[in-house]
């Protein structure tokens, strides 16, 4: 039986030759993402923006304009409407009315009554109300969890490898998160707590990818102590390339299925992850190793611990002497 090989044996791509271009593109994309988020903003769901959200399912494709007029005529104020997953399902977002829960209930009832009057078969599938206080806390907690997770991971990698690897991993993480946020600012897909979970997944995945490459770099640095650092980095990426591609392809197969068939609730989140996997694969091939080169990683970075404290300095001096 002949087995499928997506990547041929013993590839020898010179990935690092493209490092300036790759980093240039990445930095441009990161800046672009930041600008997009700053200018267009993220389309925060009720989780983060506070307010009232109703998901309504109609019998046939909904006419958003007439629906918008219907909602406004009901006296509930200016609503924002968008289809959700399929054209029959509409998410209606309204600001939270002042006052207590009774006021909120009144608005919900009003909107439901006006919509029912025109579409007797409309089905109200979901109602969410989040007060400004709670949404503020959710933003804070979500951001805190994200930041601390990134920090914690970088510190672990620093201890387990070397500080340069920690910085490299952190940069790759920032890169992936920034680009995904930029994508959400660009498409204005709704950004809610589930997307934060997706972001965390992307971090986890991208990191996995980066660590696999780093682990091989460390192994090769110890093995080929006289080899030129750029060659070692390229070799390591090439050696792990087949694995990187096979894993990414299987993840994309799984996520692609979720995007197409997973239903409206899973949609945003599957799209985010699919994109994240793509970005993560790119960053672990082109970015992670390039950063190490700039940080001055060399054979001196990994000297057996039992060689004593001076060995590291000595090895470093040797390495510099060679150049």
């Amino acid at each position: 039986m002949r087995l499928l090989k997506l990547v041929p044996d013993n590839t020898n791509f010179k990935f690092l030759k493209w490092r300036n271009l790759a980093i240039g593109i990445s930095i441009a994309l990161i800046l672009g993402s930041i600008a997009l988020v700053a200018m267009r903003g993220l389309n925060f769901g009720v989780d983060f923006a506070g307010g009232l959200m109703m998901e309504v399912r109609f019998e046939q494709a909904a006419d958003l304009d007439s629906l918008r007029r219907t909602v406004a005529a009901g006296g509930a104020g200016e609503g924002s409407l968008q289809t959700f997953g399929d054209p029959r399902t509409v998410a209606i977002r309204l600001p939270l009315p002042p006052g207590d829960d009774a006021a909120v209930q009144k608005v919900v009832k009003q909107v439901q009554a006006t919509i029912r009057a025109e579409n007797p078969k409309a089905e109200f599938r979901r109602v969410e109300t989040v007060s400004g206080k709670v949404s503020g806390e959710l933003i804070r907690d979500g951001a805190l969890a994200l930041l601390l997770a990134m920090m914690g991971i970088s510190i672990y990698i620093w201890f387990r490898f070397e500080w340069q690897f920690g910085v490299g991993a952190l940069f790759a993480l920032v890169h992936d998160v920034a680009l995904t946020l930029g994508f959400f600012a660009l498409t204005q897909l709704e950004f809610d707590l589930n997307i934060v979970a997706a972001l965390l997944t992307i971090i986890g995945y991208s990191l996995n990818d980066t660590i696999v490459v780093y682990d091989r770099i460390r192994e090769n640095l110890r093995k080929y102590r006289k080899m030129d650092i750029e060659t070692i980095l390229d070799l390591s990426i090439n050696e792990t390339l087949s694995r990187t591609i096979v894993t990414s392809v299987s993840m994309m197969i799984a996520l692609g299925t979720l995007v197409v068939l997973g239903g409206s609730v899973l949609f945003g989140f599957s799209v985010a992850m699919l994109l994240g996997i793509f970005i993560g694969t790119y960053s672990s091939i082109f970015i992670g190793a390039s950063i190490l080169l700039w940080m001055g990683v060399g054979p001196h970075s990994f000297v057996p611990a039992d060689a004593g404290p001076d060995a590291k300095l000595k090895a470093k001096a040797e390495a510099q002497g060679q150049v």
Binding site: M1, L3, L6, D9, N10, E55, R57, D100, D101, A102, V104, R125, R126, V127, E128, T129, V130, S131, K133, V134, E137, L138, D141, L144, A145, A149, G152, I153, Y156, I157, R160, L193, N194, V196, A197, T201, I203, G204, Y205, L207, N208, I211, V212, D215, R243, V246, T247, V249, S250, I253, A254, L255, T257, L261, G262, G263, S264, V265, L266, F269
Partner: protein, 530 residues
């Protein structure tokens, strides 16, 4: 070659079987499971409300409300204590509540020490090891005594109020007859209520939002109606809004309160819905006395600061039970009866977050999610087998076991699977695929270098295991941080991720290794196509 002694094989097989045993109930209906003998695991995986439909409501108490209530009762206690102190009454002037404290002026300088002593006697120890006191008594301007509840005292008070509020809410929800409600205290001042599969959460919310503080007060018939129209009341009286509009002036003093109620039921009188109530023996006696003394006068029945009716006392009510009539519908009479039966909330609660997912959406999500997951698993499995042949089959078996183990462990622990939880699930399946890919790719590499089959496999597993370890430790770090700092949905993600990391390493490394070694022993292959 890594050795698998029989005990190790058995340990692995038993672990897997235990996982399967806990996962299996998920493939049967509740009815089928009910028929099983006790002791057999029969727990379904808990699905979060986002997946199965239901209402999630977050309630918050205002600590200021607790303080207000505390000061109100304290004012009454201070007044009584000054009048009936053990060492004789203490004459006082100008007793008032100001700036979160109660203060009064002692009329005779000679009484000051006695007044302070009496007030100190009111305070109780609070806090850890009862180190603090719940009241702080001080003297200002030479003759004015200030009694101030301490922060420690107030927080103990809030704590007690919240514990009691959870109980009251539980009683109210139980009255609705919903199944499996979850009512949990969150933090200092919040309560989470989760009720699965509720079509219409309005009844629930209207029950939760009401304090249900019931008071009977005499109507002040002598008050000037002109004053009332301006919203002013004579001393000792107050203006209370009427439920049907307008206002009513009533005496401040509470004739009797709802705390002494033991039962309340909806019923009918002259064909109209009313609410009947019954006092306990102490309350019954007080009610009898009050109605005897005030026969012929009107009194107001006040619920949460609103007059719901103001009937005239036609004759003394001696049996300890009565009827509240008002403009009730059958539903509102029933609701009031439930509220009165389950007791008043010790603190007002407001809804600050609500999520209701209709059962249809929940069912749709599960169906779509399940179809997509099954297809995704099938496609990934096909891809693995095409790529790695025999080792691909082992990987697929490990992947399926991994999924089963996650489901089994979550069912056994009673953990809840939410939508973000599914994200965690996808990530761990991804990590498990990756672990298999890492091992298989490494074995390929070693084979290419010309090693023999056994040596390639050994090196492949050893070298790949280190990478897998590092990658998974970082995921554990992320999961732990998310669990500590994240809010609800992120926690759900972290739980699945943590469980998944353990099972994916176990299945991808240990279980496949066992299968590979058994194959090596059986066939002793000289060549390996990979």
């Amino acid at each position: 070659m890594q050795d698998f002694p029989p005990w190790k094989i058995w340990a692995i097989v038993l672990t897997v079987l235990a996982g399967i045993l806990f996962a299996v109930p998920n493939f049967f209906s509740e009815q089928q499971l009910a028929a099983l003998p006790k002791g057999v695991p029969a727990q379904h995986l808990n699905l979060g409300l986002d997946l199965r439909g239901g209402s999630h409501i977050l309630l918050e108490a205002d600590p200021a409300d607790v303080r207000r209530g505390r000061l109100e009762t304290l004012e009454e206690i201070v007044r009584t204590e000054l009048r009936q102190s053990d060492s004789g009454p203490v004459p006082y002037l100008d007793l008032s509540v100001r700036d979160g404290a109660i203060s009064f002026t002692v009329r005779n300088g000679a009484d000051i020490d006695r007044a302070i002593e009496t007030m100190r006697g009111l305070s109780r120890p609070v806090g850890q090891l009862a180190a603090g006191r719940d009241l702080d008594v001080s003297l200002i301007d030479g003759n004015r005594v200030v009694v101030r509840p301490t922060p420690a005292g107030l927080s103990a008070e809030t704590d007690a109020a919240m514990t009691q509020a959870v109980e009251v809410i539980r009683r109210r929800i139980d009255e609705l007859g919903t199944r499996e409600p979850t009512i949990i205290r969150q933090g200092d001042t919040r309560i989470v209520v989760q009720v699965p599969g509720l079509q219409d959460p309005d009844a629930l919310k209207s029950l939760l939002g009401k304090t249900a503080k019931l008071e009977f007060k005499l109507v002040d018939t002598e008050a000037d109606p002109a004053l009332a129209a301006q919203g002013r009341a004579p001393p000792g009286s107050q203006v209370v809004p009427n439920a049907e509009g307008g206002t009513l002036i009533v005496k401040r003093r509470v004739m009797i309160s709802g705390d002494q109620l033991v039962d309340s039921q909806p019923s009918f009188q002259d064909g109209l819905p009313v609410v009947s109530f019954r006092f306990d023996s102490v309350g019954g006696k007080r009610f009898a006395k009050a109605t005897q003394e005030n026969t012929g006068k009107p009194f107001a029945i006040i619920l949460d600061g609103q007059v719901i009716s103001a009937p005239r006392i036609n004759e003394p009510i001696l049996g300890g039970s009565g009827i509240i009539s008002g403009s009730f519908t059958t539903e509102s009479a029933n609701e009031l009866a439930i509220l009165l039966r389950s007791g008043k909330l010790p603190v007002a609660l407001t809804v600050i977050e609500e999520r209701t997912v209709g059962p249809d959406l929940g069912a749709d999500s599960i169906r779509a999610g399940a179809i997509a997951s099954i297809l995704a698993t099938f496609l990934v499995a096909a891809f693995m087998i095409v790529t790695y042949g025999r080792f691909g089959v082992y990987s697929v078996i490990a992947l399926l076991l991994n999924a089963v183990l996650i489901i089994g462990i979550m069912s056994g622990l009673g953990a809840t699977l939410t939508l973000p939880g599914i994200a965690g699930f996808v990530l761990t399946i991804g990590a498990a695929v990756d672990a298999n890919v890492l091992i298989n790719e490494r074995i390929r590499e070693e084979l290419r270098k010309g090693r023999n089959v056994v040596s390639s496999i050994n090196t492949g597993y050893t070298e790949a295991s280190r990478t897998i370890f590092d990658a998974n430790v970082t995921n554990v770090i992320a999961a732990v941080i998310m669990f500590w700092f994240g809010s609800g949905p992120i926690k759900g993600f972290a739980v699945v991720l943590t469980i998944g990391i353990v099972t994916s390493v176990f299945t991808a490394v240990t279980v496949t290794r066992l299968m590979v070694n058994l194959w090596l022993r059986r066939e002793r292959p000289q060549v390996l196509v990979l």
